[in-house]
Symmetry: C2
Subunit: 205 residues, 2 copies
């Protein structure tokens, strides 16, 4: 039966399911079984069925899941049916790469505001967007009603940046700074630190 209270670990797998389903659509699949989906993801079929069962019944017994239907349902569950405007703070090498990444839009995101604190960069155009002064962040983020931000500033500036974002009603932060940031309850944070990911693997080498 549907939504009691879904474990976060389950929510974390849904985007992976969605990503794979969209590849299946491109490949022309119309129906997929939990077995095939699990094979592609390296996840057990039972886990996929159990995960989906938190949200409803999406499959047909004896057949499997309608790929397009399940994809659209997952987009609905994840609130990525439309396109979220996203603020990017920090426009160094990484910020540039993110601003030019063309994979966001089809996944439900678009970088609409870019900020930096370097006077030499402010006013420049990156990926069709003007780089704004971080000093204007509060005003612009409020005006645009931004709820999602990507932080790509140096570690030393990360916490202060996040504090400003939180005050501007940003409620989801993707943090590329290699430092632990703290946020009030109700604000989501995801961290990406390549060194942390690499060190996790070297343990096994």
């Amino acid at each position: 039966m549907p939504t009691d209270k879904v474990p976060d670990i389950v929510v974390g797998r849904l985007p992976l399911y969605l990503r794979t389903l969209n590849y299946l659509i491109e490949e022309g699949y119309e129906i997929v079984s939990s077995h095939e989906l699990g094979r592609r993801l390296g996840i057990s079929p039972a886990q996929i069925r159990k995960d989906l069962s938190h949200f409803g019944e999406f499959g047909k017994q004896g057949a499997g899941y309608d790929v397009k239907y399940l994809s659209s349902q997952l987009k609905h569950i994840l609130h990525v049916e439309g396109v979220w405007p996203v603020a990017l703070v920090g426009c160094g090498a990484l910020g540039h790469a993110l601003a030019n990444y063309n994979g966001f839009v089809t996944k439900g995101f678009e970088i609409t505001l870019i900020f930096d604190n370097d006077p030499a960069k402010i006013g420049q155009v990156v990926a069709g967007k003007v780089i704004h002064d971080v000093a204007d962040m509060p005003r612009l983020i409020c005006e645009h009603g931004i709820r999602i931000a990507i932080v790509a500033v140096p570690s030393s500036a990360a916490q202060a940046t996040v504090d400003v974002l939180v005050r501007c009603q940003v409620r989801a932060i993707l943090n590329y700074a290699p430092i632990n940031i703290s946020v009030p309850p109700g604000v989501q944070v995801q961290n990406i630190d390549p060194a942390v990911h690499l060190q996790r693997m070297t343990y096994y080498l």
Copy 2:
């Protein structure tokens, strides 16, 4: 008592502990308690103590942990006492950013080989390193004894790239391509896909 068989989820937290310990060193701390460490990481003190207990006894009752000592022990456990040479495959915007990222060396990694398949890029110098032809990957990676690679190629090329890397004895892969790659047992993979991280958060918005 020490190493029975450590859960992967515990291994995954060690780099975070290490990262925070190194910040504590910079701040001049000499001793830290599990309570303080946990406060900074958003992790319970009990969990930190339990995690560390898998590897030995590093603290002093009544006092806490010697920050430098624990840091060095974690580096030892994670096999990042030295510097691993790393191959970077794919030198687009993201590859550039990674090549120029100066945070790797102090964490135990150095990008020593860069590859791309674009004839216009091959031979160019990025971050002091020549971009090599992917066709030369097998030879160069073997010659340098590389065990770790970062994949920053388009999704369509990711699996083929990984297959080559695995044949070259690469055993740890940090994958930035937004696709699930498959590898034989014994090869570590970590995935970084910003869209997946963002979608995980939009569920709660």
